[in-house]
């Protein structure tokens, strides 16, 4: 039971809003100590685990070129492009991105997306520009909400598209686990059962995106017709 202390530290730490990086470090070291190892081997295995996980952060290599392009007006250009498309709304734009992300992920092209490479420089500015075009100047809360939606679409698209591709990590993991348990399944028989969920994800989240358009419109109408504070005083 004692090694579960790491889970408790993580839950309590996040709930009490301590810095997540600190919480996770403390949880990792405590888990090792609670499992009965002494401090030097625990720090060693923690160091090894950290070094072995370096590949997770390779995406930051995109930042020099993304920053360079931002400096030269990439976001401004992305806004102009969307401003010129009459039919574009925030919800519809994100719906198209959701579909593209799911389809490309299902073909194994999961690297066609991502928060650093795609969402920050292109998708989020475009989604904001679509709202500005239709509704005028946005307040900060609305701007943040639209950006959060842009990030969410990238996640949902890739999660519920990639498992249709037979050579993706999660399918390979399922196969090797079942193999260890003496059960042999073909990757294609796993991938085929990812399809119904992919369709449900598109329908559920797509519907929410179309509702997002409506909610943004209502908010801007409410803001436009609300009496200004000086009028309210009278």
């Amino acid at each position: 039971m004692l090694p579960l202390i790491g889970i408790l530290i993580v839950i309590a730490g996040f709930a009490l809003r301590f810095n997540p990086l600190l919480v996770v470090t403390v949880a990792a070291l405590s888990t090792g100590l609670a499992a009965g190892h002494s401090i030097v081997p625990v720090i060693s295995s923690f160091g090894k685990a950290f070094i072995d996980s370096r590949s997770v952060t390779i995406v930051w290599l995109a930042l020099p070129v993304i920053g360079l392009l931002e400096r030269s007006g990439l976001k401004e250009r992305a806004r102009t492009v969307i401003g010129g498309i009459t039919l574009a709304t925030t919800g519809r734009l994100l719906l198209v991105y959701l579909a593209l992300r799911q389809i490309t992920a299902a073909l194994g092209l999961t690297s066609l997306g991502g928060h650093a490479q795609m969402v920050r420089p292109l998708i989020a500015p475009m989604a904001e520009a679509a709202a500005e075009k239709n509704l005028g100047e946005l307040d900060d809360a609305t701007r943040y909400r639209i950006r959060a939606h842009a990030a969410a679409v990238d996640n949902i698209g890739v999660f519920f598209g990639e498992d249709i591709f037979i050579a993706i990590g999660s399918i390979l993991l399922i196969r090797s686990f079942l193999d260890q348990n003496g059960i042999h399944v073909e990757p294609s028989s796993l991938a085929v059962w990812a399809a119904p969920t992919a369709v449900c994800a598109f329908v559920i989240h797509g519907t929410r995106l179309l509702f997002l358009d409506r909610s943004l419109r209502e908010r801007s109408i409410a803001a436009a017709t609300a009496p200004s504070p000086s009028e309210g005083d009278r």
Binding site: N19, T31, S45, G47, R71, V185
Partner: protein, 318 residues
């Protein structure tokens, strides 16, 4: 042969550059803290493969101490004004998208094409790491295209990288730290303990309740671990195989595939999945850490319910 190690060296050089730009920026109040944080991180990339595990562990603890005790400074102001950027956007127009789209294009070309690149019969790129090496190569190609096209000062890429890395801050390291936590959990045998608790508390009386327990368990344990991969073997060994498949005769492929997707619903709602839920908050400069999770929450709940129904139908269809 180009291996992942070369990409790590590239990362190390970039992080060292970010640290140096910080040291030299006298206007930034926390410049030395940021420089120490990114400098130590650079060492883990440049020398991590050769240092003893214990030294690496101390480096990581030192990074976290700098952040926790000294605190990190935020992003510096942008290096160009809005008017300059708008003028540049008009001048370059859609050509600005070329370097940005070169990153995914070259990554994909490399992923599929590297295996045909051979030198004296030996592969040029490590065949086990093609996607990650391709991503590294793609960022270099995109940067070269961008530099050749825009002709900015030579220091621009690293100055901009520093602006963005400081904007993301400690969140940049969190995904890696969580992966390390997962490894520590595995070492301490956390999974089997959770599985034995679950087997004692869940009701086992009908196929439907067992499917609910498995799908919700996958989502819940994934939320705790931040990743469906470590949750899958634990939950499937505890509930999936013994109950859904062995006891009630459910279809193993449907159970496993939809079980993994139920786990992904948990990924959508947890700060532990930092690279999906916390990193974009930092990258998009959102004030509320839970902003992305809040948007994803309704979809995650509805989709988990859908997964339960699909699994029940698919595993027990006759």
């Amino acid at each position: 042969m180009i291996k992942l190690e070369s990409v790590y060296i590239l990362m190390g050089i970039m992080m060292a550059g970010v640290a140096i730009v910080n040291v030299r920026d006298r206007r930034a109040p926390k410049r030395l803290n940021n420089a120490a944080f990114w400098g130590l991180y650079a060492v883990t990339f440049l020398a991590g493969s050769r240092l003893p595990d214990f030294a690496n562990g101390l480096l990581v603890i030192a990074m976290v101490s700098v952040m926790a005790i000294g605190r990190l400074g935020g992003a510096p102001p942008e290096s160009t004004t809005r008017l300059e950027r708008e003028a540049s956007a008009r001048r370059w127009a859609n050509r600005l998208f070329i370097p940005a789209l070169a990153i995914p294009a070259v990554t994909i070309a490399g992923t599929f094409g590297f295996k045909y690149l051979t030198l004296n019969g030996a592969p040029v790129v490590d065949p086990k790491q093609t996607t990650l090496v391709a991503l590294g190569v793609a960022t270099v190609v995109a940067l070269l295209v961008g530099m050749a096209m825009l002709r900015p000062p030579l220091s621009a890429p690293i100055v901009e990288a520093r602006r963005l890395m400081d904007a993301v801050g400690w969140a940049a390291v969190l995904p890696q730290m969580l992966a390390a936590l997962g490894a520590m959990f595995a070492l301490a045998g956390v999974g089997p303990i959770v599985a034995s608790i679950l087997q004692r508390v869940i009701p086992l009386d009908s196929p439907f309740t067992v499917v609910v327990a498995y799908a919700v368990g996958m989502a819940g344990f994934t939320a705790i671990m931040g990743n469906a991969f470590p949750a899958f073997p634990v939950m499937t060994a505890a509930i999936g195989l013994p109950l859904i498949v062995a006891k009630f005769g459910g279809d193993v492929s449907a159970m496993a595939a939809i079980g993994m997707l139920s786990g992904f619903c948990g990924t959508l709602v947890t700060p532990m999945a930092a690279n999906f839920n916390i990193v974009p908050v930092a990258l998009l400069e959102l004030p509320n850490e839970g902003a992305v999770i809040r948007v994803q929450f309704p979809t995650a709940v509805l989709l988990l319910a859908a997964n339960i129904l699909i699994m029940y139908w698919a595993a027990f269809r006759k």
